[in-house]
């Protein structure tokens, strides 16, 4: 079963990415997590994302493109990255979600990947 782990981070976490004092611990934790997914044989793929301010949201209204600067949802925690993993069931996926650095402080959403067949 494939699951997507979506990592939602708080502003402080996005700031930690480039903070001289905090960036090492921040990236160290994420790199270790990604590498562990890989070495445990469950990783299908995934990426970190640029911070939310780099996002652009588009809607078509009456055929007109409405472009909005910024992320889709105006929430405190924002999508910071995603992983797709291959595990037997939801319990295993939740185990991996709990180990994700965003689980404490932010939030992690786990969703089964839709199988089109």
């Amino acid at each position: 079963m494939q699951y997507m782990i979506m990592t939602y981070e708080e502003p402080a976490a996005f700031e930690a990415r480039t903070d001289t004092h905090k960036s090492q611990a921040y990236w160290g934790a994420w790199a270790a997590y990604a590498q562990t997914l890989q070495e445990s044989g469950v990783m299908v793929g995934g990426s970190g994302l640029q911070p939310p301010h780099a996002g652009t949201t588009l809607r078509l209204q009456n055929g007109q493109r409405q472009i909005q600067d910024g992320p889709y949802a105006d929430t405190k925690e924002q999508l910071g990255g995603y992983f797709v993993i291959e595990v037997p069931d939801l319990d295993s996926a939740l185990d991996w979600a709990a180990r994700c650095p965003a689980a404490a402080g932010g939030a992690v959403e786990v969703r089964p990947v839709l199988v089109m067949g």
Binding site: Q24, W27, A31, Q35, T36, D95
Partner: protein
């Protein structure tokens, strides 16, 4: 002035399990017993604030629950063959509550919850729900399972008890040891499977520590002649005694060997030692007594200022011989390293089957620590990375990130993986 809401809460906390056990053992239907008692508590919340708290709150609740069970039976939802049993229950409960002495059937309930016919993953949750009255959402959170899935798991388990007609009884003597093991395993699982070791650990289900200790005390109270039950209680009390020392004021993780012993709870250590001493009089050693004895050696550091690693290593030898659990094997390796050096510890780790260690965080943490001591830096970095990736606890993760930094000089090496 008695606050009725607090009274309801207090009665729920102290009597819930006893009332459910009493009703379930007699109606042989756990779900019906819980529903009836749930209705009784709801009725209490409605009427006690208005009419005052009854003189015998438990008897009052039992009377309401009993009526609910009978109403249900009348509505013929219950199988016809259960009706006579329910009438009998009604009469018996009436008599018992008038005498103000209804028997404590919680032990039967514990054994039912840990029955081999119940799915292993449902046993601990079932105990927490039926004996302690915890709700499914909280249990699901503690076990990292989606609430809906946990709800289903519990419903299925109760249906199984009813439909398979699992006996609401304390098992026969020859079945008792195995069944008692699963009761204790379930209680220990509620406490948490993570266990402190030299380099850090993966604490899970920490939210249920108090409940687990409560269940453990209950088990000792119900089976006072059972040394392993006391061993389990001693083990958890030792672990719990150190809760205040596991984090420094800044919240950072403090490994056992660096903990400030003045922050340990002396009353809990004291109680643990007493339980262990009483268990020892039976001269029947077991897994929990051994684990408690190991923690007892660690607790001695508060008195002697040192850790007797010889004793710890020896106790782990016994433990691994008795139960080759992964946690015991990893801890044994860590103790061996303290006695005979990191190479010996590493050799013991290498002996563990690799397929077992893939996602076991303590293994990687201990391995990293020993490799670092042997100055095998590259391998230590690899192992620290795995340990960090498997950590659920932020503070443990930060601790390991710092350790990694000290063997690699910087974590930048790793960030390159992601930033490429």
């Amino acid at each position: 002035m008695v606050n009725p809401f607090q009274t309801v809460e207090f009665v729920a906390r102290t009597s819930y399990g006893r009332l459910v056990a009493y009703l379930a053992v007699r109606s042989r239907d756990l779900t019906a017993a819980e529903d009836a008692l749930g209705d009784a508590f709801r009725a209490a919340l409605e009427t006690w604030p208005r009419d005052g708290v009854p003189h015998k709150p438990e008897a009052w609740l039992l009377a309401v629950a009993r009526r609910r069970l009978i109403d249900e039976a009348r509505r013929a939802r219950v199988r016809a063959d259960a009706a006579p049993a329910l009438w009998q229950l009604a009469e018996q409960a009436q008599a018992d509550s008038e005498r103000d002495a209804f028997p404590d059937d919680r032990l039967k309930l514990l054994f039912i919850c840990a029955h081999p016919a119940i799915a292993a993953g449902a046993r601990t949750p079932l105990m927490l729900q039926t004996v302690l009255g915890l709700d499914a959402v909280r249990i699901a959170g503690a076990f990292l399972v989606a609430p809906a899935a946990m709800g289903q798991r519990l419903v299925r388990a109760k249906a199984k008890i009813r439909d398979a007609a699992i006996a609401f009884a304390v098992p026969k003597p020859r079945e008792l040891p195995a069944r008692l093991d699963s009761v204790m395993e379930a209680i220990y699982a509620a406490y948490g499977t993570g266990w402190e070791d030299v380099a850090g650990t993966d604490p899970r289900r920490r939210g249920l520590a108090a409940e687990a200790i409560w269940l453990s005390r209950l088990l000792v109270g119900l089976m006072p002649e059972e040394p392993e039950a006391r061993g389990l209680l001693a083990l958890m009390l030792h672990c719990e005694a150190r809760r205040g020392a596991r984090r420094n004021p800044g919240g950072a993780y403090v490994p056992l060997l660096e903990q400030d012993v003045t922050l340990w709870s002396h009353s809990m250590v004291e109680e643990a030692e007493q339980e262990l001493a009483r268990a020892a009089t039976h001269r029947s050693i077991g897994r929990y007594q051994l684990e408690a004895a190991i923690q007892s050696v660690h607790a001695q550091r508060a008195v002697t200022g040192r850790t007797d690693w010889q004793a710890v290593a020896l106790l782990y030898e016994h433990l691994v011989a008795l139960t080759p659990a992964l946690g015991a094997q990893v801890s044994r390796a860590a103790a061996l390293a303290q006695v005979s050096g990191p190479a010996a510890g590493l050799a013991a780790l290498e002996a563990v089957a690799p397929e077992l260690t893939v996602t076991y965080q303590p293994y990687w943490a201990v391995r990293a620590h020993l490799l670092a001591r042997l100055d095998r830096r590259v391998e230590a970095q690899e192992a620290y990375t795995r340990a960090i990736g498997l950590s659920e606890d932020t503070h443990v993760r930060q601790f390991l990130v710092k350790e990694l930094g000290s063997v690699s000089g910087s974590a930048a090496v790793l960030s390159n993986h992601i930033l490429r």
